[in-house]
Symmetry: C2
Subunit: 223 residues, 2 copies
C-alpha cells in the first residue's frame, strides 16, 4: 500500500522502516523539508541525511503532498501538534482515508512525568475523528515503544496491541498491516471512544518504564 | 496478621476469604451491621448470612472498631464513598497503619462505561494519603477482577500486579501478603503519585472486558 507518515521523529522513522520492510511504498511528511534533511539525531543515530541514505525508497515531502498521495495516513506527530499538522495535511487530502493514530496527548508543560492534555471523558483520537469526520481514524500502537511497534518479536513472549475505531473496514486494513509486522494478539476494543483506554495507559507505561529502567516492554492480556 | 477490611461488597468478601485462607485474622467493617447481615447477594451467591456461616472466623463490626483493632486496613469501599468511610473509621484508629487501597474512583453518574472522578493530575490514592497523612497508603490490586486478586493461579500464565506508596516498609508488608496469595510478579512503581497509572488503567480494563466478554483476565508486563 501507499503509506504516508506525518512526522519524521523516532516513531515516524521506526514506522517508515517497518512499513518499507513489509513491502509498502512509504512517504514521510514534514513541516520544513530543508530543516528535516539536515537535522542531527540524538546520540549514535547520526543525521536525517544518513537515515535517508539508509532508507532510499522513503520519499520526503510536505504534509499535504504526503496525505494526498497516500492510501493510508499515519499520525506520528506529537499529541500537542497533531490537529495543527492534520489541518496542514488538509481535510480534502485526508478525506475517506484510513488514518492510523499512534500519537499520545502528552503534556510536558509541568515537566516529567507528563500528564495527558485530554483524557477520561475524551481522547486525542476522538478529537481527531470529530475534527475530520470523514476520515477513518484507527487508534493503535500508541501503547508501546517505537522500536517494538514494528518488531514485536523482540520481546520473549507475544504481547497485545489494541484497535479502536468506528470503521470496521479501516480496522481490518490496520489489522493486516499489524500482522505483517508480526503482531498476533490484536484486540479490537470497539469504537473510537475506546481509544481513551490505550491513551490513559500512558501514565502506567511511564511509571513501569521508570521501575524497569528501560522502555523495552509491553503488556500481554492474559486470559 | 490482623487485617481489617472496610467494605463487605464483592471485593471485600473476596479479600476476606483470601486473607483468611493465607492464615490471617480477618474482620470486616460495615456501616450498618444489621442491614449487612440480612442482605441478599446477586444471583446464586445467597445471602450475607450464608457467607458468614461459610466464613465463621470473619468478624463483622463497625468501621471504627475494625480499623482500631487491625494491624493492616484495606479500603475495599467504592471510590465515591472511600473518604467518607475512612473518616468514619477514624484518623486515630488508622494512624501509623498500613492501608491497602484497592478502590477505583469510578463515576457512574453518566452511566456505563464509568469515567474516573479523579485522574491525570491526581488519584484516589493520593487523595486518601493527603487526607490521612500519617497512614501508610499502598495502592495495589485495583487493576483486576476480585476473583483473581487472591487467586492469580486461575489464569494460565503468571500476570503482574503493582505497588505504589511512599512507605517502603508498608510496601514490603503488602508484597508479602500478595506473595501468600500466589503473586510472583509484583512491580513496585514508586511513590503514591504512581497510583495514577493503575487507576487510569481502568478504562482500558473496561473496554477489554467488553471485547473479551468476561472479566477473567489480567495484564502481564512482558520484558
Amino acid at each position: 500500500m501507499r503509506i504516508g507518515i506525518l512526522g519524521t521523529g523516532m516513531v515516524g522513522r521506526a514506522l517508515a522502516e517497518g512499513f518499507t520492510r513489509t513491502g509498502n511504498e512509504v512517504s514521510m511528511g514534514t513541516r520544513d523539508m530543508h530543516t528535516t534533511k539536515v537535522r542531527q539525531l540524538d546520540g549514535p543515530q547520526g543525521s536525517m541525511a544518513d537515515w535517508f541514505s539508509q532508507n532510499p525508497s522513503v520519499a520526503l515531502s510536505d504534509f499535504a503532498s504526503v496525505a494526498g498521495s497516500a492510501e493510508v495516513v499515519v499520525n506520528a506527530i506529537s499529541g500537542s501538534a497533531s490537529l495543527d499538522v492534520l489541518t496542514q495535511a488538509g481535510a480534502v487530502n485526508l478525506s475517506g482515508k484510513v488514518l492510523i493514530d499512534v500519537s499520545n496527548p502528552l503534556d510536558f508543560s509541568n515537566g516529567f512525568p507528563p500528564t495527558l492534555s485530554v483524557s477520561n471523558t475524551d481522547s486525542l483520537a476522538e478529537l481527531v475523528q470529530r475534527s475530520f469526520p470523514d476520515v477513518r481514524v484507527v487508534k493503535t500502537l500508541n501503547t508501546l515503544n517505537a522500536a517494538l511497534m514494528t518488531n514485536p518479536d523482540q520481546l520473549p513472549e507475544p504481547t497485545t496491541v489494541f484497535l479502536s475505531g468506528d470503521d470496521a473496514g479501516a480496522k481490518a486494513i490496520v489489522d493486516g498491516l499489524l500482522r505483517d509486522f508480526g503482531w498476533t494478539d490484536i484486540l479490537d476494543l470497539g469504537d473510537i471512544t475506546t481509544a481513551r483506554g490505550p491513551e490513559m495507559w500512558l501514565p502506567l507505561w511511564l511509571s513501569a518504564m521508570g521501575a524497569l529502567g528501560n522502555p523495552m516492554f509491553n503488556l500481554r492480556v492474559v486470559r
